[in-house]
């Protein structure tokens, strides 16, 4: 289980970093608030994972100081594209946690997967990307 949690932690760390870049490029206070709320949600998941890994006596991977971005973030369009990629990545990281957990831990994993998928849908709608949903959030490919 620790391997899956470590992957989820890496995805959450990347999301926290990415939203720092996304937020400043978005137009409108509502959208920037949305980005801030998303970053905060990812921080809470990060904190949960750090605690959970510590409880399992597993080494917590150190978050990298920075990330190589897949493309430059220069405007709202590129910021939204990154936000969508980040949320899809977070969903993909949490889905494998479901089969290796139960009870409250599985509930947390399902909430994390669901929240990431919903945020990705929100950003797709704002970016006017269609379709706004995918049949199996978190499933690779």
């Amino acid at each position: 289980m620790s391997d899956q949690l470590a992957v989820a932690l890496a995805a959450e760390e990347a999301a926290i970093y990415a939203y720092g870049l996304v937020g400043v490029q978005l137009d409108g206070a509502d959208n920037r608030d949305e980005a801030r709320a998303a970053q905060q949600a990812h921080r809470q998941r990060r904190d949960y994972l750090v605690l959970r890994l510590a409880r399992a006596s597993s080494a917590t991977p150190v978050a990298p100081a920075g990330y190589r971005l897949p493309f430059p973030i220069t405007d709202q369009a590129s910021a939204l594209k990154l936000a969508i990629q980040v949320e899809d990545g977070v969903a993909q990281a949490w889905r494998p946690v479901l089969p290796v957990t139960e009870n409250a831990d599985r509930s947390t994993a399902l909430s994390a997967l669901t929240d990431a998928a919903v945020r990705a849908t929100r950003w797709r709608r704002l970016a006017e990307v269609t379709p706004v949903t995918m049949a199996f959030p978190g499933r690779p490919g």
């Binding site: 969903a91 889905r95 494998p96 479901l98 089969p99 290796v100 009870n103 599985r106 509930s107 994993a109 399902l110 997967l113 669901t114 990431a116 998928a117 919903v118 990705a120 849908t121 929100r122 709608r125 269609t130 379709p131 706004v132 949903t133 995918m134 049949a135 199996f136 959030p137 978190g138 499933r139």
Partner: protein
């Protein structure tokens, strides 16, 4: 004749004829039971709880299709959501080793036979998300990821219908 008369048995108070008759009936019943005539029928196997998630997927896809008949302009925007439900139904049917039921045969027709409005669809999607989430939280390991994705997808539909 004496053989046909009722003779009281001293200790039980029953007549001998009654006792023999009862014993004979008991033997007969035992023999018939051995033949299986009086066996309790096997209780029908409980339906797989995943069937409810499949039925909802079929019913939701049909609900979108009915909506597109009355409001064809919504097909471009919401057609992919119906396709999501059809993809879920196909995966779930494969997992249950069954065929995708027809919408008419599906008991999960929460939106009724007439075209639902967007608010009704949203409500039904939310209920369906709850069904899939509840199942996922207690699902066997092999089904947890798939049903988790289906629950998450249904949540995105609630968002998309806002």
């Amino acid at each position: 004749m004496v053989l046909t008369e009722s003779v009281r048995m001293s200790r039980t108070g029953h007549s001998r004829r009654w006792v023999l008759g009862a014993a004979g009936a008991g033997l007969g019943a035992a023999a018939l039971t051995g033949c299986g005539l009086f066996d309790d029928p096997e209780p029908p196997a409980a339906p797989d709880p995943l069937q409810a998630v499949l039925d909802e997927a079929v019913a939701l896809a049909a609900a979108y299709d009915r909506l597109f008949i009355s409001k064809p302009d919504l097909r471009a925007r919401l057609g992919p959501l119906a396709d999501d439900h059809r993809a879920h139904a196909a995966e779930l049917a494969r997992l249950l080793d069954t065929t995708v039921p027809s919408a008419a045969a599906s008991p999960a027709t929460g939106t009724g036979a007439t075209a639902a409005g967007l608010a009704d669809l949203r409500k039904t999607e939310r209920l369906a998300q709850k069904t899939a989430s509840t199942y996922c939280l207690r699902a066997p390991v092999a089904r947890a990821a798939l049903t988790g994705s289906i629950a998450a997808c249904r949540a995105t539909h609630v968002e998309a219908l806002r």
